[in-house]
Symmetry: C2
Subunit: 274 residues, 2 copies
């Protein structure tokens, strides 16, 4: 497999959380990074239109807007509110000129996983017409089973593929994140299936630390953990994906550092291990 | 589905970790509990033979000896040592008169999951003849994917079923633990498959707390979390299992309590929610 260059490197703004968007995009661009995925908190104050201009003026491409979803609720009012919130996010993505929204689909611990998945299906159905109208794609991100109680009832790539294939829309696909999926014995097969159905919309990288300390904010920098990133990139590329590899790291440890030093670690790790 | 009584309640000694074995079995028996699964640390000092006598004298049945496994290592010396350790545990189980050993199969973060699974297969193959000779069964316990890096490369019931079916031995089966498997969309189907192949050897219960604080020691008491225990027991019983429901809880929070109070909570929760 070919080595990767920074031309395919995209950073999620949350990765360098201490930086506000203007500083982040300036630093990313200066480091030779070409893409950015924008978290909702990053555009607060600026608004989506100005944020989009600022990013493009820095010479960066917007890869995705992060994140919509959280459709399941045991009350119908809660579900209706989630749909409205997702429509608002789609409008923001359009104003930002982001081509895609990542969906963390949600789960509600007071009902069955099956009920939550049904409500996810209904939620996607309700927002897909607006996504098409605004020309913003939706990418279902299956989440690690340790988030099954309240973050996502879609916990394997097989389940995400099922959902995407149910709709057969060019506006609905899947975001493959190694952190959530590396452990799955069916991963190679399901990545191939995802690509064959033209549903492989995004590829996210970080690492799984062998001794993980926190359920949310202890993701590893690529190379710090046990994920065979080159092998999985090989599968993703064999499935036809040649887009950005998006670095998405939530880490109290890395956020506590000087972010200039951390960004250098990210770019070094990217070309070496992704 | 019928309500359950304490006649089918077994407690893992680790659940009341602050109690030494003599106190634990006395208290379990007084509470009306009928079974105990013995952790290796519980027989230290006593030895397996005396521990077994003490448990039977209290009127309790030994359900399993916990736990063997941890077969994968990147060095052949490490793998050979693991096999020797498992043979030693089998001899201890026989001296204890425990009918079964639970296997936490292991994983090594410096090699692929597939390599680890192959080494698990080799390890089981190496100890199965002794298990048969000593009349001690082996139960593969699939572990939650959050333990895939260094505790188990077998993370779904499908993978455990595959492994058990590979050997087709009446001495090798599976331990279904709700903590590890509740999130799996294929759980009902795989429990049925496990039963149909006569591989459903054990059933472990506790709960998954929606906000779990620790990767190891924050399991919930039944009813504290989001697992639909009655539904899963229904699946297990439909698959032909009518043995003990084994309470296995690791919890810094519950261990910090007066264990007499905690045991009362366990038995109350058992008859109400399991």
């Amino acid at each position: 497999m070919e080595n990767i260059t920074l031309d395919r490197c995209c950073i999620h703004t949350i990765t360098t959380k201490p930086w506000a968007l203007p500083e982040a995009v300036e630093k990313y661009a200066a480091a030779g990074i070409k893409g950015v995925s924008v978290w909702t908190n990053a555009i607060e104050g600026l608004g989506p239109k100005r944020a989009g201009e600022l990013i493009r003026e820095a010479g960066l491409e917007i890869v995705s807007y992060v994140r919509g979803g959280f459709f399941p609720h045991s009350s119908s009012a809660g579900r209706a509110q989630a749909i409205e919130q997702n429509k608002k996010l789609l409008e923001e993505a359009a104003a930002l000129s982001a081509p895609m929204i990542v969906l963390v689909c949600g789960a509600s611990p007071d009902q069955s996983m099956q009920q939550s998945r049904e409500q996810i299906r209904e939620g996607i159905e309700a927002i897909l017409p607006l996504a098409e109208k605004l020309n913003v794609k939706l990418a279902i991100e299956p989440l690690h089973p340790m988030y099954a109680a309240d973050r996502s009832a879609i916990n394997t790539l097989a389940q995400a593929n099922d959902m995407a294939e149910h709709f057969r829309s060019t506006y609905l696909g899947v975001a493959v994140d190694v952190y959530h999926l590396w452990w799955d014995g069916d991963l190679e097969k399901e990545i191939a299936r995802c690509g064959a159905n033209r549903n492989l919309f995004a590829y996210h990288v970080c690492d799984w630390k062998v001794k993980t300390l926190d359920f949310l904010n202890d993701r590893g920098l690529m190379g710090e953990g046990c994920i065979d990133l080159k092998k999985i990139r090989g599968w993703v590329e064999a499935a036809g994906f040649n887009g950005f590899c998006e670095v998405e790291i939530f880490s109290d440890i890395h956020w506590a550092k000087d972010q200039n030093i951390f960004l250098k670690e990210v770019t070094d790790a990217f070309v070496k291990t992704v």
